[in-house]
């Protein structure tokens, strides 16, 4: 019992800061940014699971994030257009009738369901195809990267259906509440933080379970696992789907928080940035993944505000330094400090 409390103390402390202190102390604009980082942290958590524990380096997590985001955006656009109305971008793209694909997204339940289940379904299909054929390592990484590139091109090309390069923006209300209101934004922040907390605990539980051990075994010796009677493809597909679902949910939260979804948010570069964030935070620990997303998100904002002209140097340098000096990321560094103190 004591052990249980001790183990959860850091988590509880962070939760109090995030849920109580942050909304009180931060001005609305900054709180909104923090909410955005937390959305990324949810994606990072999934990457931490799939890559850190399962060894699947997914460079296409933006795809799932994007699907979730688009599902939510479609719902928002439809409520705003009202029954029979058309979303603004369709009007200037010359679309005259609501495409059939859009119809289900008028329902918030279906839209949210699609935001999570859609990415999971895609992950299951893709996972079944590639994992069963034992595509892995760098092959898998590059395939997912190509997937991200392809999806962006597809979305951009279907301007009437998706808003093209612009994506979708200009949202006004969510479940009847004015999105411009600071109180709505604070509420969204709290929801995001809460979702992240719950997912973190659930993922931690999963990682510490026997399934988690199996996952590590698959990562380190996929072929050997077969001879223990498990199907690694199934284990990987399930994990990949879970991480895709998380990314989808994060995307759905992101849209009302940030107010835009566009192909620029889900292509090769943002997908890579998320993986980088996980690496910086420390992919071997779930907390590291979350931490990395928040730190890198903050660093990007801070650097680009301070040094609008040369911030890429700083971001690149920060990242190269962490990778070379602390290959296990910030979490690894903290672990080392803690061990050194107890030793």
């Amino acid at each position: 019992m004591r052990d249980l409390i001790r183990r959860n103390l850091p988590f509880a402390a962070v939760a109090v800061v995030a849920l109580v202190a942050a909304p009180l102390l931060l001005e609305p604009f900054r709180l909104g940014l923090l909410a955005k980082y937390l959305c990324y942290a949810i994606v990072a958590l999934g990457i931490g699971l799939a890559w850190g524990k399962g060894g699947m380096l997914t460079l296409g997590q933006g795809v799932f994030f994007g699907l979730g985001g688009y599902a939510m955006a479609m719902y928002l656009k439809l409520t705003e257009a009202g029954p029979g109305g058309l979303p603004d971008f369709m009007v200037w793209s010359g679309v005259e009738e609501l495409p059939a694909l859009w119809a289900p997204f008028a329902s918030p339940v279906l839209a949210l369901g699609m935001a999570v289940l859609g990415p999971m379904a895609l992950a299951v299909v893709l996972g079944t195809l590639v994992f069963r054929q034992r595509v892995r390592g760098a092959y898998f990484a590059i395939l997912t990267q190509a997937l991200a590139a392809a999806l962006v091109i597809l979305l951009v090309g279907q301007q009437g259906l998706t808003g093209g390069t612009n994506g979708m923006t200009n949202f006004f209300e969510l479940f009847g509440r004015d999105l411009a209101e600071d109180s709505t934004q604070r509420g969204l922040y709290l929801v995001t933080a809460g979702v992240l907390g719950v997912l973190y605990l659930a993922t931690r539980q999963l990682v510490n379970s026997r399934f988690g051990r199996l996952l590590v075994a698959v990562r380190d010796g996929e072929d050997r696992v077969r001879f223990l009677g498990y199907d690694p493809a199934l284990v990987k597909t399930v994990t990949f789907a879970i991480s895709a679902g998380m990314a989808g949910l994060a995307g759905a939260l992101f849209v009302p928080v940030v107010g835009i979804i566009s192909p620029a948010l889900l292509g090769v570069v943002p997908s890579l940035e998320l993986v980088v964030a996980v690496a910086v935070g420390g992919r071997h620990a779930l907390a590291g993944a979350v931490l990395g997303a928040v730190v890198m998100g903050y660093a990007k904002t801070a650097f680009s505000e301070q040094f609008a002209d040369g911030w890429l140097y700083l971001q690149g340098a920060l990242f190269i330094l962490v990778m070379t000096l602390a290959p296990k990321g910030i979490a690894g560094l903290l672990g080392r400090v803690r061990r050194a103190r107890t030793a």
Partner: protein, 282 residues
Amino acid sequence: MTAFVNQLPIGLSIGAVLLLVALGLTFTFGQMGVINMAHGEFIMAGAYTAFLIGDLVLALPAAFLVAGAMGLVLERAAVRHFYGRPLDTLLLTWGVSLVLQQLARDLFGAPNVQVPAPSWLAGGVGILPYNRLFIMALAVAGVVAVWLYLNRTALGRRTQAVVQNRRLAATSGIDTGRVDMLTFFVGSGLAGVAGVALTLIGPVGPGLGTYYIVDAFLVVVAGGLGQLRGAVLAAAGLGLLNSYAEFWSDASLAKVIVFAVIIAFLQVRPQGMFVLRSRVLT
């Protein structure tokens, strides 16, 4: 009909471009397992070298040296701490690529620069301009040189030994550090050569590398890791596929089709076109 027939040489010439940009990767990725995302920026460095020198032929060896030297520095300063962790190198070198892009922007300015094409490359035969033929010739020459290097020289053999069993290589008397440096030098140098060639057909600016990097890796993946003949066939195949897919639909859809075909292909041949089977369990 002519248009249709024309697509054949066009496809091959697209393949030659793909092959040229991917050739260096068969070294750094195929041989050493390093997923070098800064490969694109080494291509860019080659292109800027051509810009500075202003003469295409002189630029070829110079770009090889410049990009090679950059690769050498990258290898010594960072990549060497990452052997055995190929997926981590991907992230590291991506950071490097960001910095190099920004550096180019500061050194040469954000706008594109122009490398004049030599007058003897004006004109062409049939649908293929001389500059495309030049690129195809360069790709062929590159493949031959790489093949000879890997299979006919002691250095090539040493490279393979280090990749396959680093520790054993060291205890067999191979200076693994030097082999790593050399391999990275050659792989990066080849990127520089590709950069010179690309000045003939595309923009020369800080973003140059980003336009080619995903395609280059796809060629290596479809061909089979470290497999030269695989890379050649994959490049030609993807070039033709691209050319006909774009001919029938459009450039956007062609890219999507290429990706779909690669996934389908990996269903049949999960490790790319040519696989080196090994009995070692992973």
